[in-house]
Amino acid sequence: MIKLIHNEMMKILARKRLIVIALITAVLVALFTYAQYKETLERQEKLGSDWRAQVQAQIVDISNRLSSSRMSEDLRERLQITLKQSQYYLDHDINPTEPGAPSFVRMFIENAGSMFIPLLVMVVASDLVSSEHTLGSIKLLLTRPVKRWQILLSKYLALILSISIIIAIVGVLAYLLSGVVFGYRGMNAPIITGFTAQGGNLDTSEVRLVSQWRFLFMEFGLVWFVAVVVGTLSFMLSVLIRSTAAGMGIMLAALISGSILSNMVSSWEFAKYLFMVNLNLTGYLSGVAPPIEGMTLLFSITLLFIWWLASLFVSFLVFTTQDVY
């Protein structure tokens, strides 16, 4: 099995897909870094350069509010968390409005998780099987003394490996490149998480502070999961449709319609069962309101898991039983 996966990785690497992906990522990261840098400059101009004084003022303000007795328990907790966060910024000499590399990575991954990374994954996944059909090499592949499910499994595991590499590339590049401009500090900075938007209200009962690296770790985990699901769906299309272009087109349409639907269909309840509106998993961590009411992190993960399982099942069923012409 290792030998078979080695084969598949050899083919993926020989086609230089991963290098292209790394280049695309590098260009995008550079662009975003520049944009972020511009924005920071502008904000500093507006707010003045002495951020310490501002944070100090904020802390005093919050402390005053906390000392007043007429306050709901809920609000008190939230304010205390904000207080802790501000205090941390001051203690560790971190300017909250000026992002370090870790904050940039967080921002980048949150925005890339539902569209950019799935696209990159699609580039690798969508021709993994169909290209063998187009080349005709499938006939050589399937007439070896290896069972078909083993061949498909080796391809699938190679895909998972590639997805992991892609996400690592994105993470490392985003960190290294943005760090040149913003510096590499802020791995331990506290991040507020646990907001859940329910029916227009912000539910803050679960709010807590998490250190940045932990938060990043969770986000990368979620993005990886989304990438695997999207990769598996493209993989299935690659098995079902012999033409790589058609498979890619369908997947692309699905991803784009996903981002359009997310903005439009809050009243069409059924849409929440479509995989493409559930891709923004990191949104649940940072407290973005879900596109359709009633969607939670658990719901989205379960739903994506079902899609994943179904497409994996279909892929293996079709691949092991189909007649190859």
Partner: protein, 302 residues
């Protein structure tokens, strides 16, 4: 019969309602080249795809060296090497990487074995170049190298000379004969060219519309169908004389008689004595269409 390497029994394939392959039975023996002859669309490629496990037969059994292709797929495939249609290797990999790729799919093939195979097909000097820079003949040889990697007992080649130039065809033919005669392989070759099969094979199965209409040695099937074409002057008189000895057909100014070596001299002598000049005497290999006409009794090939 212990030397049967490939046995096909009652093989059928139905797609939709159409029966594409209608009950094939044949066997391959050790050290023979077996030809699969038929026009395009006769079902040769479909049959080969079933033999190699690419298509599931509707009914019937295929066994390679005693292992059923469906039940013992991996064991059966260990004894089989094949090229289905063109050898479609990975153009973006080098020849060596291609072979390495397929060697990894076999149980325990050493690099030394790969090198031996490369030397055997004569690709030593270009093996580390990318396959996309290879000529068709070289790709064909690389294809054969990958088919021979596992030292198979049965080799299946679908139209092996397709697209090769005359020198390449000749080379390929010698190569295949050598494999059968000296290495003891059973080779199954498909072709729609009669001349090809005649030069290459020991036995031949003739396929038409999904059926094998005849299996026989090449000798019996084709050579006996050979004819002698006469160009004589005057034609009419010559025909009358030849009609005394045998069946005669006239077509395009040629008189066709059966080819019987010892009789030909006698007939030509008689013609000369009668004062008829023989302008040309030619052996004629029957064209596929004629062969089908004879075998099927007038049903046309479509």
């Amino acid at each position: 019969m212990t030397d049967v390497t490939l046995a096909v029994k009652n093989l059928r394939k139905t797609i939709g309602r159409k029966e594409i392959i209608k009950g094939l039975n044949f066997e391959l023996h050790k050290g023979e080249v077996f030809g699969f002859l038929g026009p395009n669309g006769a079902g040769k490629t479909t049959t080969i795809r079933m033999l190699t496990g690419l298509i599931k037969p509707t009914t019937g059994s295929i066994s390679i060296c005693g292992f059923d292709v469906r039940r013992d797929f991996t064991k059966a495939m260990q004894y089989l090497g094949c090229i289905v249609e063109n050898p479609e290797l990975y153009p973006y990999l080098s020849g060596w990487d291609n072979l390495l790729h397929f060697a990894r799919m076999l149980p325990s093939i050493s690099e030394k074995q790969i090198e031996e195979t490369i030397r055997f097909v004569g690709l030593d000097d270009r093996i580390h170049d990318k396959v996309k820079t290879y000529s068709l003949g070289m790709r064909q040889r690389l294809g054969i190298a990958q088919a021979l990697l596992n030292r198979p007992k049965v080799l299946i080649l679908d139209e092996p000379t397709n697209g090769l130039d005359p020198a390449g065809i000749r080379e390929m033919r010698q190569f295949i004969r050598n494999l059968a005669e000296n290495e003891g392989l059973s080779v199954l070759v498909s072709s729609h060219l009669l001349s090809e099969i005649q030069l290459l094979c020991d036995r031949v199965a003739i396929m038409q519309k999904g059926e094998i209409i005849s299996v026989d040695s090449v000798e019996n099937l084709l050579t006996k169908q050979e004819k002698l074409a006469w160009k004589v002057s005057p034609l009419q008189r010559g025909k009358e004389i030849l009609e005394r000895f045998t069946e005669v057909q006239v077509e395009d100014g040629y008189i066709f008689t059966p080819l019987i070596d010892e009789k030909a001299a006698e007939w030509s002598k008689t013609l000369m004595e009668e004062g008829i000049s023989i302008l040309e005497m030619n052996r004629k290999i029957p064209v596929l269409e004629d062969l089908f006409l004879q075998l099927t009794g007038g049903e046309t090939v479509d």
